[in-house]
């Protein structure tokens, strides 16, 4: 190695780079602490039973409360229920479809068509969420002539699919081939092998993949803005506009009078998402051992 620096300078350079790397790495964790801190401190004071059981207040109620200097009444129950309904429908479709599709890609990984599907899955995963919103608007909202919970569910479903396909495919791919061979040696056909041996042994990886997919789509706002639209009371029907927690945050953000409610809703969403994230990390580590 040609170097004009003497040994002291080289060591000094090495040390300083090490310090810089450490400092900047630790600086990178500040945003997480800052965001968690701000949302927690401002949000926890809004948590109460009624925050989770009451729907968002009407504009009239808000104005009255502001006039009298009272805290803004109401909560985010309509958002929580809407989010849960859409998540449930999206999961019910995306999980089985995603697992089967991932199984197909892993099973036929050398075939052209499977490679093509795998490539398109990447493409779909990289598609900006706002475009998924537009697409669902064109496909579902325009023909139905109304914004609806169904359209929101489909948008979330399209976002979940590639994530579940990827995790299924990757988990199936790293299964030891001896497992497959043992199954075949015992006389199982491909269907039995997949359903009774491969998929059950890949359960851990697929499950954590599903958790991550849920945590990813539950916080999505853009695809719901043009599909579920939002609604200020608790609604259970699928063919009408419905609310969701991130949509409520967006509404509160745009309405200066309701900004008090924004932090409670954000804290709820953040807790939910980060718990799922940590849980999936914990399970991955546990199942790997």
């Amino acid at each position: 190695m040609k170097s004009n620096l003497n040994i002291k300078q080289r060591f000094f350079k090495d040390r300083s780079i090490f310090v810089i790397v450490c400092v900047f790495s630790l600086l990178s964790s500040i945003p997480l602490i800052a965001i968690l801190g701000e949302v927690f401190v401002k949000g926890i004071s809004q948590f109460s039973l009624s925050f989770f059981t009451l729907p968002t207040p009407t504009a009239y109620k808000v104005l009255k409360a502001v006039e009298q200097g009272l805290p803004i009444p109401g909560g985010i129950a309509n958002g929580i229920i809407g989010s849960m309904i859409m998540l449930l429908i999206a999961s019910a479709v995306a999980i089985p479809l995603g697992i089967l599709c991932g199984a197909y890609i892993a099973d036929n990984s050398k075939q052209r068509f499977a490679k093509f599907v795998s490539y398109l899955t990447d493409l779909l995963q990289g598609t900006p969420s706002v475009i998924i919103g537009i697409i669902t608007y064109i496909w579902i909202v325009i023909p139905m002539k109304t914004y609806s919970a169904l359209a929101g569910s489909i948008a979330l479903c399209i976002m979940m699919l590639p994530l579940i396909i990827r995790s299924t495919e990757e988990t199936l791919r790293i299964l030891p081939s001896s497992l497959k061979e043992a199954g075949l040696a015992l006389g199982a056909n491909k269907a039995k092998l997949m359903l009774k041996v491969q998929l059950p042994s890949a359960f851990g990886g697929i499950f954590t993949g599903i958790l991550l997919a849920i945590s990813r789509v539950i916080g999505e706002t853009a695809p719901l803005m043009f599909t579920a639209l939002g609604c200020s009371f608790i609604r259970l029907s699928l063919d009408k506009p419905i609310s969701a927690v991130p949509l409520l945050i967006w509404e509160f953000f745009n309405d200066p009078y309701q900004q008090e409610l924004i932090w409670g809703a954000s804290l709820f969403l953040l807790t939910f998402v980060l718990t799922l994230n940590l849980l999936s990390k914990y399970l991955t580590r546990k199942w790997k051992k």
Binding site: D14, F24, D107, P128, I135, L278, K281
Partner: protein
């Protein structure tokens, strides 16, 4: 269950992905056609007007393409000084130690935070700071959006880069050490040439993320429809103009917004494809 039936079922479910992707392209193209037809494709791309007064409607994508490129490029610039140290910290200096796994968990959690919460944080914490530093009078600017975008893409760039750094075989490092190289010399002269294309591809994928980011940018960029003149001026990105105006648009304006969505879709698809191909070729 019969083997044949099972195979057919798998094949049919696999068809759903090409159907969705084909449907996306078809729907975007047919609905954007009106705008391209009315203004002409290149005219639409290069026009800088965005006027929805009835009778003198004029739409062009240029301000938003430039807004997107500016926010993405700045975000990348701000992200490198943090994601590269994190990748080295987790992939080399403290590889396999507890502190590395804590840092990588922290950075991964950053990736899990919904973009609307980043937007809120940027609006209520970062924006006042920008105002008080006299960088921009109303605090919303290309710069504000890029700063928060940078934080959002750090995890994507860092985790993939550290994977590539970890893959460098130990015997290469050991032979360099035995020749008397310092750690930095090894990183500088061995890691970057060997893992460089992998690290580069992780930044390409991070760019793909930043291009389509919607809510954060919408909340922080200031939402004006002219070409931004500097990084402290307000603007609009392709995703944020859609988020802002899609709900109230119809006719030609709706078609123009969908045309912008089509352009955004194509750009992200190309960037992601380049990234994926590079990753495939840079496996060590």
């Amino acid at each position: 269950m019969g083997d044949k039936i099972f195979k057919i079922i798998l094949f049919i479910t696999a068809l759903i992905i090409p159907l969705i992707c084909g449907g996306i392209v078809y729907a975007l193209v047919t609905d954007a056609y009106q705008a391209f037809d009315y203004f002409g494709f290149f005219n639409f791309l290069t026009s800088t007007d965005w006027n929805y007064t009835e009778g003198q409607e004029q739409y062009g994508a240029m301000p938003f393409i430039i807004g997107t490129l500016m926010t993405t490029f700045l975000a990348l610039l701000f992200c490198i000084p943090f994601s590269l140290p994190v990748a080295l910290f987790c992939g080399e200096y403290f590889k396999g130690r507890k502190i590395a796994s804590i840092l990588s968990t922290v950075v991964d959690l950053l990736a899990g935070i919904p973009s609307i919460i980043y937007g809120l944080w940027g609006f209520f914490s970062l924006r006042p700071l920008i105002i008080s530093l006299n960088i921009s009078p109303q605090g919303s600017s290309i710069l504000t959006a890029s700063l928060v975008l940078a934080i959002m893409i750090v995890p994507y760039a860092a985790s993939l880069s550290s994977e590539f750094i970890k893959m460098i075989p130990d015997d290469i490092k050991e032979s360099a050490y035995s020749l008397g190289a310092t750690r930095w010399e090894i990183i500088h002269k061995l890691f970057f040439p060997i893992a460089g294309s992998g690290i580069f591809s992780s930044y390409i994928l991070a760019i793909g993320r930043a291009l389509g980011e919607t809510m954060t940018v919408t909340m922080l960029i200031g939402n004006t429809n002219a070409i931004p003149t500097s990084i402290t001026s307000t603007g609009n990105s392709m995703a944020s103009i859609i988020a802002n105006q899609f709900g109230e648009a119809d006719g030609l304006r709706l078609s123009s917004l969908i045309a912008i969505a089509l352009i955004l879709f194509l750009i992200t698809a190309i960037i992601n494809m380049i990234g994926k191909i590079m990753i495939k070729h840079s496996r060590i």
